[in-house]
Symmetry: C2
Subunit: 251 residues, 2 copies
């Protein structure tokens, strides 16, 4: 008898916290509220490790400010948020979390600290047993098998580029179609083609700003007012709209 | 008696191969020709490892095409160029090189292969004994102490982010002042500020497209039609023009 394996996972993977000219976390707010409410979440464990420079004072102080900033918004949505950087034992905090939210910033610093505190595998286990997970920008990057499609500067050196592998494909958040006029550096598409040249079996999803992916089990849906762009080695990139079936990307 | 140590090094560190709308290597051509000629160079050892996707066929084939492309231009300038990827023993090739030129592309792949082939330290030794060195884009990145200020996507995982350390500061090539309109991702300056938050003692030089640094011993000069931007932790960024003294950055 064939075994049918269904992934238990509830993910909200958000391209960016903030659209140009809008308030912090303004556009994804209703999505986050609806998603967490659906699972009866009251308490949120926040991972601030990507937010290294909200103040020049110190990285630790930056985490404090990051927590304050996000806590306020989550309180308005009806959730109690506290940050893992205040926990004496981060692994226990993960294991006891009702939901996990990873904020954006620098993916290298985020992955480094997640690995140093030994929470990569505990978060993976927890989320694949159903604990709701929200990540934006760097937080969406670390939901992927590796951090190899981040846009961030490698400001520090994590022991490994491996990440949570909550999904089988790579997200490129803040996906951007063109360079500023007159700039000759690689476009985002060229960077992703470089990635595919040395990672030929991997699929990359370019997730434009103002867009998110909602994964529940083996089903995935795009929300937002722009299409997403799917890249595979040796194939033309393909665009998918909000109403199209994306479940194939989870296979 | 105090010892006076003078670094022997002759470097041409170029932000970008090509300005928007121009031919490949068009703008830095006269600078490269003048620089290599000054030291009586005839033969150039080319490092193509950053060029991973000049063809989708294979990375090896991409190096072949990269060599062809650069060889043609160097021939027009009067130099004989051959690529290290054709050499049976890359370390011997480095030790016997008359000059070393590192092309742009993906810095992670470049650093990975330089480390795998064990040529990082041999190049450093060779160049610090006076062998002329030219690097553009990723090639300028690896001249720095680390590759932590590259703009490239981390498509593969080098054993270490440490690089050639031919200069004591970090270059950010293709330095860019603004994002495309409507894009909310981090600006380049914000990315560099993130770097400084966790690397407080390091100086970062934003080198705009169409600009290069010429280092000879303990003297450094900017060429190009734009200023460079110097970043240090806790200080306002400073702009320096072509005619200003930059030797302090080498101290």
């Amino acid at each position: 008898m064939a075994q049918i394996q269904i992934m238990i996972r509830n993910l909200l993977l958000i391209s960016n916290s903030t659209n140009a000219g809008e308030d912090y976390l303004a556009w994804p707010r209703t999505f986050i509220k609806e998603f967490l409410s659906k699972f009866g979440v009251h308490k949120v464990l926040f991972i601030p490790y990507a937010g290294v420079n909200l103040t020049p004072a110190s990285v630790e102080k930056s985490f404090d400010l990051y927590e304050d900033r996000v806590k306020k918004i989550f309180k308005e949505m009806g959730f109690v948020l506290h940050s893992i950087h205040r926990e004496p034992n981060p692994v226990i905090a993960v294991n006891e979390a009702e939901s996990i939210v990873i904020g954006g910033g620098n993916t290298f610093h985020l992955a480094l600290m997640m690995q140093e505190y030994g929470i990569m595998e505990p978060i993976r286990r927890k989320v694949l047993r159903g604990t709701p997970f929200v990540g934006w920008s760097a937080g969406a990057n670390v939901a992927c098998p590796t951090m190899k499609t981040t846009n961030d500067m490698p400001i520090c050196e994590p022991p490994s580029f491996n990440c949570l592998k909550l999904i089988p494909f790579q997200i490129n958040p803040h996906y951007l179609d063109a360079n500023p006029a007159g700039h000759a550096g690689e476009t985002r598409e060229q960077r992703i083609q470089e990635f595919l040249s040395v990672n030929r079996g991997t699929t990359v999803v370019g997730l434009r700003e103002g867009c998110l992916l909602n994964v529940e089990g083996d089903a995935m849906q795009l929300s937002g007012n722009r299409s997403l762009r799917v890249f595979r080695h040796g194939m033309d990139a393909q665009e998918f709209q909000e109403n199209e079936n994306l479940d194939f990307l989870l296979k």
